[in-house]
């Protein structure tokens, strides 16, 4: 019953997507309101259909309807309900179903938000999203059908992959990642929609950027959440291993971040139009490529993926979209001419361009490292792997350069500057950076990378504080409000800029956390008899006993370890090994005692299975790991500030005049400025340097 309902819903969604694509594109090109209307309704319909499919699948999972093949593969009567519910995304077909549902949700949201928009873009955007939908719903209707039946109906199933039912974060990290991944198809649809409609002026870019920030925020939290999950579950004491699955989520993040910076150059100076389109399209292609990489089995062996249908289908779809996008850009190339030019070698826009070059270089290096084993296996039939040292070696210097630019860019004016201005903007941050390096050097740190990181971090942080200080004092001059309120004003009225600075602050915190935890982590592995103690750094750990616990879905073996930091008792730590009937290898649950300065991380490696008299434990002192999670939270808050709907930003009238004739947005800027003058508050601090 549920299987029929689910499958019918998927077919309905597929039909809805086909109708959306046809009515959207035809209606858009011929400008037929009836068809345009139909494309919106079909988008809503698709969302309702996919929601029904998801509800059917959840009902099948939670009621243990093992006649549904997917449920018989990932469900079991013993799995706790929470993990049963989230096993929706624990296997290929279920995760494509989840993907499709989110896609339909985004499309419906776009249709709703733009229902009164008259710029002619909406039908093309919905049509593009519908086209992407056809691919995913088509997969669900055919090769990745999660609603297939299995005869005879099994009594029970194996439950989800043990790794995926071992930590509650599994309910948070994948949805965030999916919201980010699928969310990136919206800016893609705006880019393709703008190319199709030929309306390549600013409106599409404004919307694409908003959606990009939202997807980017989810993706950032998803990536950080993945690192956190890996830290809490995998038991090796690290959070990032440059695993292809991790890289797959990181690649689109890099290009999306590049776009969020270069888009400002287009908005302000009308430059980089083709480049921005390429970044949006490339980002979406990378999400598909990442999914292909992690879901097609190609990572096990180049030759494995051709055995399935999904891999080649993904590859074909990627090729189709890439080719189609190229053709569209070439077709519209006459409208992508840039009116602006690079005026000064040292300017905000050149900083952004350098930023983009580095982001693209990072994307290239990570991508190459990820696919290099595949290339070698395919070309020379040798099996190799590219280890974390490659990524660390190539990534670190480039990332440090980016960190440095993060302090330079915001303090540089647009267009051009003078040596005098440069000196005024940079003497303080540079002083702070140098002071930080000096102090830390005197404290005895001699390693180059951490020193450079701390110096740059101090430099960037000082620039950000300086930007806030300038903004607050300018607002106080204008409105006479007290500093705290003026500060809030900045965040609420100009969230794009100051939210961006909050994001930067989060990234600085993460960079410092990475530098510290990467350089000063140390570990010991020892076998302790009952009552024996281990000393590691400031910590003391005593092994008391082995305990076992019967749970419905697994058998747990754990050790009771008392832990002290100095003289302070940290309680009994319980690192565990979980034996799932379906896994030949136990899944570890490390015990992590977190503090701001350092974590004590205990993993049970082996134990005396006869009498429980001894246990082998790996103890890791992991400094500053908590900063990564805190930094991630700050990034999320900053993105929320940047995207929070606020009043139309008003600009200094001189600014609009200054831009007149040089930027395509001059008209809208002038309008905005005059509107602002008519408004109750004549002048608000815009995103130009106050007082310029």
């Amino acid at each position: 019953m549920l299987s029929t309902l689910g499958y019918a819903s998927v077919i309905a969604a597929l039909l809805g997507a086909v109708i959306t694509t046809l009515t959207g594109l035809i209606g858009g090109f011929k400008n037929r309101p009836v068809l345009i209307d139909a494309s919106r309704r079909a988008t809503y319909f698709t969302f309702v259909a996919m929601t029904t499919a998801i509800v059917a699948m959840e009902a099948a999972l939670l009621t243990h309807d093992f006649s549904v093949e997917y449920v018989s593969r990932v469900g079991s009567r013993e799995t706790p309900s929470y993990y049963t519910a989230i096993s929706l995304w624990s296997s290929l077909d279920g995760s494509i179903l989840f993907w499709g549902w989110i896609l339909s949700g985004y499309a419906a949201l776009v249709a709703f938000v733009r229902r009164r928009e008259t710029d002619g873009l909406t039908p093309f955007v919905l049509g593009t999203l519908g086209f992407v939908g056809i691919f995913f719903f088509g997969l669900l209707a055919g090769p990745a059908n999660p609603f297939g039946l299995i005869v005879p109906t099994p009594e029970n199933g194996p439950g989800p992959n043990p790794l995926l039912q071992n930590h509650p974060l599994m309910g948070l990290h994948p949805p965030l990642l999916y919201l980010g991944f699928v969310g990136l198809s919206v800016p893609f649809a705006f880019a393709i929609g703008a190319l199709l409609s030929g309306n390549l002026e600013a409106t599409w870019l404004r919307d694409a950027r908003r959606w990009m920030i939202a997807a980017w925020a989810f993706l950032s939290l998803g990536v950080i959440g993945g690192a956190w999950w890996s830290y809490e579950v995998l038991g090796w004491g690290g959070y990032w291993a440059w695993d292809p699955v991790e890289n797959a989520s990181f690649l689109p993040w890099l290009t999306a971040t590049a776009f969020l910076h270069s888009v400002m150059v287009q908005e302000r100076r009308g430059m980089l139009k083709t480049w921005n389109l390429t970044l949006i399209i490339g980002t979406f292609i990378l999400t598909l490529f990442g999914t292909f990489l992690t879901r097609s089995g190609i990572l096990d062996s180049v030759h494995a993926f051709t055995e399935g249908v999904i891999g080649p289908l993904f590859l074909g779809f990627i090729a189709l979209l890439t080719l189609g996008s190229f053709v569209l850009i070439a077709w519209r190339s006459d409208r992508l001419h840039a009116p602006g030019t690079l005026d000064g070698a040292v300017s905000r826009e050149s900083a952004f361009i350098l930023n983009n070059l580095i982001f693209v270089a990072l994307t290239f290096t990570v991508l190459l490292g990820t696919v290099f084993p595949l290339i070698v296996e395919w070309a020379r039939n040798e099996r190799i792997s590219v280890g974390p040292p490659y990524f660390d070696m190539v990534f670190t210097p480039l990332a440090l350069l980016l960190l440095f630019l993060m302090g330079v860019g915001p303090a540089l004016p647009w267009r051009r500057t003078t040596a005098e201005k440069l000196k005024r903007s940079f003497w303080l941050p540079t002083g702070v950076g140098v002071a930080v390096v000096a102090v830390i050097f005197l404290l005895g740190v001699r390693r180059v990378y951490p020193l450079v990181t701390f110096g740059f971090a101090g430099f960037v942080f000082a620039t950000i504080v300086e930007e806030f200080r300038k903004g607050v004092s300018a607002r106080r001059r204008i409105s006479g409000r007290p500093p705290a309120l003026a500060f809030l004003d900045l965040l609420t009225r100009n969230g794009r800029r100051y939210g961006g600075y909050v994001v930067h602050t989060g990234i600085v915190v993460i960079a410092v956390g990475l530098a510290i935890s990467g350089s000063w982590k140390f570990e010991r592995e020892v076998t302790l008899r009952q009552g024996e103690q281990l000393e590691i750094g400031a910590y003391r750990v005593q092994f008391d006993e082995i305990f076992t616990r019967d749970e419905a879905q697994r058998f747990v073996v754990g050790g009771n370890f008392q832990a002290w930091r100095g003289d302070r008792f940290l309680g009994v730590q319980q690192p565990r090994l979980n034996y799932y009937p379906t896994s030949q290898q136990p899944i570890a649950t490390p015990a992590v005692e977190t503090s701001l300065s350092k974590d004590l991380y205990l993993t049970l490696m082996a134990f005396d299975s006869e009498k429980g008299e001894h246990a082998t434990v790996r103890a890791i002192v992991n400094p500053a790991v908590a900063w990564l999670w805190i930094g991630g939270l700050i990034v999320g808050i900053g993105a929320l500030i940047a995207i929070w709907p606020h009043g139309r930003p008003a600009y200094l009238p001189e600014l609009a005049a200054d831009l007149a004739g040089s930027a395509p947005m001059a008209d809208s800027l002038a309008t905005a400025a005059s509107e602002a003058q008519r408004g109750e508050e004549a002048v608000t601090v815009g995103w130009e340097e106050p007082g310029s």
């Binding site: 009594e155 194996p158 290096t365 076998t527 879905q553 790996r618």
Partner: protein, 149 residues
């Protein structure tokens, strides 16, 4: 204008060149080959000291685990060639004789493979529990396999 373009072009070439050098150097130094004992023996001196992954089976009755000094000795075999492995650290929880393992480390002149990481090769296929089978019994059977060696 033209001169500026030349400079921008030169800058781009310089950056691209630097990145390519960095990447090529990084790949050359950090590619880890995956070999079987026979392939390793054939390469011999060519790969002394290079980071490697060695795949094979644990030869029965060759395991010597000393928890007091944290040293694990065993012989890895692919049915054709046998190689002694010395590893620091405890064997992974499901380590047992006759099972497939992947060891990370390097090959030394003395003919011993020094490993810093022993990974149990486990298939990603999960078998459903048999009728009435309880997790504890499965655990028992796995542990006995290990202890029985």
């Amino acid at each position: 204008m033209n001169r500026r373009r030349v400079w921008i072009g030169l800058g781009l070439v310089a950056i691209a060149g630097a990145v390519i050098l960095l990447v090529a150097g990084g790949l050359r130094e950090n590619v880890v080959y995956f070999l079987t004992p026979t392939e390793l023996e054939a390469k011999g001196a060519e790969v002394y000291g290079a980071p490697l992954r060695l795949g094979g089976q644990v030869k029965p009755e060759s395991v010597d685990w000393n928890p007091d000094v944290g040293r694990l000795l065993f012989v890895i075999t692919d049915g054709e060639t046998e190689l002694p492995v010395e590893s620091s650290g405890a064997p992974p929880a499901m380590f047992s004789e006759g099972m497939g393992v992947v060891v990370e480390g390097s090959y030394r002149e003395d003919g011993v493979f020094r490993s810093h990481n022993v990974m149990v090769k486990h298939s990603n296929e999960y078998r459903p529990p048999e009728e009435g089978e309880h997790p504890r019994e499965v655990y028992r059977s796995l542990i006995d396999e290990e202890a029985g060696g």
